[in-house]
């Protein structure tokens, strides 16, 4: 599953030799994140975000397990147990703020990771499976984060749960019974809170499983790179250890500095004040908004304000909101361009920077704003571009675009005319 020049694991200590025969776990580590995995030498810093996402997942699981030790999934006390954790548990405030901001950090990292994939065409053959599994991870993350936000049982927890589960009610015929079955009642209550807690604890471990598949699938063709040219020879690659362990290592440090700054100095900046008010089914907040990482999709949901032929506006919104993510599954087959990297695709590049990125930024902004004009109209235009980008522009551009000439190899792209430069020494 690797390149022929990949380093071979050769245990020297008798114990490691014994271990390698019985259970070659060290060999697996060596070939996955050690010297046995050759990686293109020209990766830029956008390639650090996969490793950072893994760090975020670990942070969430560790802080989450500690939070769960002090939490009680019961509508009568859930809010109070969180406050008790923050006030009376040793370092409880750190775990609480770390977990809440950790979710935000995870989404920041994952959005950069996904948009790296859009720009550099990481979803293209032979890495379609890596991409598909990645979209599955993103969907699982969204489900986990949504259910996690319900657990403190504050005002936004309750009303967010009500709005989002209410979306299932838009499905024709089966919607209402389905919604009641999911909630275990007519509105979010103790039954819903309990099952959300159960699933919120389960899904992260499902994510771990899919992450393992994601990395496994990645290691079959090997990592992509900013030129999009496949690896041709040994001089194109460096071993993961020590080269990318060192690069990821300092990137983790830089990430941790930003994360710590948020946790220790602005822990509530990304949260909604209403979630410090205990849930009250009799009092609807003025503006119900989800957490910031759902805003683009929430904006798409709310952008459909008119019935479309026989389809009610609400159902259109629900279809579009899920469709906006599901369309990512089809990217490998929508984008037919033989060139991977956006750097060598002049037309696609323009649509990426001046179309997709601004549209996404506008959707982010409008999703967090009140559902009033002009925000609804602006988000309608941005959502229109979003769907046009993936479903119309991308297939058409990839058919008619004339890409720039590609470098012969990664080595040539890196060294250019610099003939005297040394190649990577084999570790």
């Amino acid at each position: 599953m690797s390149f022929p020049w990949a380093n071979e694991y050769t245990p020297s200590h008798p114990f490691m030799k014994w271990m390698d025969e019985k259970l070659p776990l060290p060999r697996l580590v060596y070939n996955s994140v050690g010297s046995g995995y050759p990686v293109p030498r020209n990766l830029n810093y956008f390639w650090n975000f996969g490793f950072l996402a893994l760090i975020c997942l670990v942070i969430q699981i560790v802080t989450g397990i500690v939070m769960a030790m002090h939490y009680a999934a019961n509508t009568a006390v859930a809010f109070d147990t969180i406050e008790m954790t923050v006030r009376d548990v040793n370092w409880g405030w750190l775990f609480r703020y770390g977990h809440a901001n950790g979710a935000s950090a995870f989404f920041v990292v994952i959005y950069i990771h996904i948009f790296r994939g859009f720009y550099y065409g990481s979803y293209k053959a032979p890495r379609e499976m890596v991409w598909l599994l990645g979209v599955v991870i993103f969907l699982l993350m969204m489900a986990t984060a949504f259910m996690g936000y319900v657990l403190p049982w504050g005002q936004m927890s309750f009303w967010g749960a009500k709005v989002i589960t209410g979306l299932f009610g838009a499905i024709p015929f089966v919607g209402e019974p389905l919604q009641q079955w999911l909630l275990g009642g007519f509105a979010p209550d103790n039954a819903a809170l309990n099952r959300f807690f159960s699933l919120h604890y389960l899904l992260p471990f499902v994510i771990v499983g899919v992450v393992i598949l994601h990395i496994w699938a990645l290691h079959i063709p090997g990592s992509s790179n900013p030129t999009g040219v496949e690896v041709k020879s040994e001089s194109d690659t460096v071993p993961f250890y020590p080269y990318y362990i060192a690069k990821d290592g300092w990137a983790v440090g830089a990430f941790a500095i930003l994360f710590a700054a948020a946790v220790f100095f602005f822990p509530n900046a990304l949260g909604h004040p209403d979630n410090y008010i205990p849930a009250n089914p009799m009092s609807t907040p003025a503006h119900i908004v989800p957490e910031w990482y759902f805003w683009p999709f929430y904006a798409i949901l709310r952008a459909f304000t008119q019935d479309f032929f026989f389809i009610p506006a609400k159902l259109m919104g629900v279809l579009a909101m899920f469709g906006a993510i599901l369309v990512w599954f089809f990217l490998p087959w929508l984008d037919k361009s033989p060139v991977r990297s956006g750097s060598y695709r002049p037309t696609y590049k323009k649509f990426f920077w001046f179309g997709l990125i601004p549209a996404m930024a506008v959707l982010f902004y409008c999703g967090g704003a009140a559902a009033t004009e002009p925000y609804v109209m602006i988000s309608q235009l941005a959502a229109l571009y979003y769907f046009a980008h993936f479903l119309i522009i991308l297939p058409v551009v990839s058919a008619i675009e004339k890409p720039l000439p590609l470098p012969y190899s990664i080595t040539e792209a890196v060294l250019g005319k610099d003939e005297g430069a040394e190649l990577a020494p084999a570790a």
Partner: protein, 278 residues
């Protein structure tokens, strides 16, 4: 085939959005939304600073004690503080004996040890602040059909919380003449009080800090309405975030260590990649 299918799906969503946009724009032009009094007269909180602000912020314990006094003598008549225990008051600089005395000054619900019937007893440091009303119905009955909210988390439960509390407490005024001229139907109903810092401009709470000198401070600070409002806001920052100082102090230690570790990490990265063009 895949391309044609995708373009058709794309057209389905984009045309539906264009339709929603067109209808929305038409409605905006033909029936522009009417202005509301809330929209035009609601004010953002005033700018106000506290010792606990900023990355090096620390509580001013004298101020917290004054704020606690305002809560005890004014707010606690209607507002609960259910997440705070008397023992927590030691953090404001009160001695063990003082905390005991403060707790004993409150009456908390208890159980008669002989009959098992509900009764009341003086508070002890482990008790939490008692609620002023038995339940929401009692609270509504006594407060013009509004439930006075719990104050423990108020500084975090509103946008720009501490400044909001301060602005609300000092913001009660007569309803402006322009408002009544422009929106005659928006006259403050009887039993409510006009306050431009409140979301819908009229709230059930009467101005709680009505006159200078309402509370007599032990430390000689002049108790103007402005001073009392500031002090009680500072106190509520503490009740909402009692670990604020520890959080910020720990933050600097953590940042210092991370900076050091990151510099080492960066240097080893440079060292390992030296001589490898990439």
């Amino acid at each position: 085939m895949a391309r044609i299918l995708s373009i058709l799906v794309g057209l389905f969503f984009t045309v539906a959005l264009a339709w929603s946009f067109g209808k929305g724009a038409y409605t905006q032009i033909t029936e522009p939304p009417a202005a509301t009094a809330e929209h035009e007269f609601h004010l953002h909180p005033k700018e106000v600073h506290f010792a606990s602000d900023g990355a090096f912020g620390k509580f001013d314990r004298q101020q917290l004690q004054r704020g606690f006094q305002v809560y005890k003598e004014v707010c606690s008549a209607c507002h609960s503080l259910s997440h705070v225990a008397f023992r927590d008051l030691a953090q404001l600089g009160y001695s063990e004996a003082e905390v005991k005395a403060i707790a004993a000054g409150f009456t908390v619900p208890g159980t008669d040890p002989n009959t098992g019937e509900a009764n009341t007893r003086p508070g002890t440091p482990t008790d939490y602040f008692p609620k002023p009303f038995a339940n929401d119905i009692a609270a509504r009955a006594a407060n013009n059909n509004a439930v006075p909210p719990d104050l423990s988390l108020m500084a975090k439960a509103r946008h720009d919380g501490p400044a909001y509390i301060y602005s609300l407490l000092t913001g009660f005024t007569e309803q402006p003449a322009e408002l009544l001229k422009e929106f005659p139907e928006a006259k403050t109903p009887s039993g409510l009080h006009y306050n431009p810092y409140f979301a819908n401009l009229n709230l059930a709470m009467a101005p709680p800090l009505a006159a200078d000198g309402q509370v007599t401070y032990g430390d000689g600070t002049k108790s103007t309405v402005d001073q009392m409002a500031k002090d009680v806001s500072a106190f509520l920052i503490w009740t909402a975030e009692p670990k604020l100082e520890k959080r910020k102090q720990t933050g600097w230690t953590v940042l210092g260590f991370l900076l050091f570790a990151t510099i080492l990490g960066y240097m080893s990265y440079r060292n390992i990649w030296a001589g490898t063009k990439h």
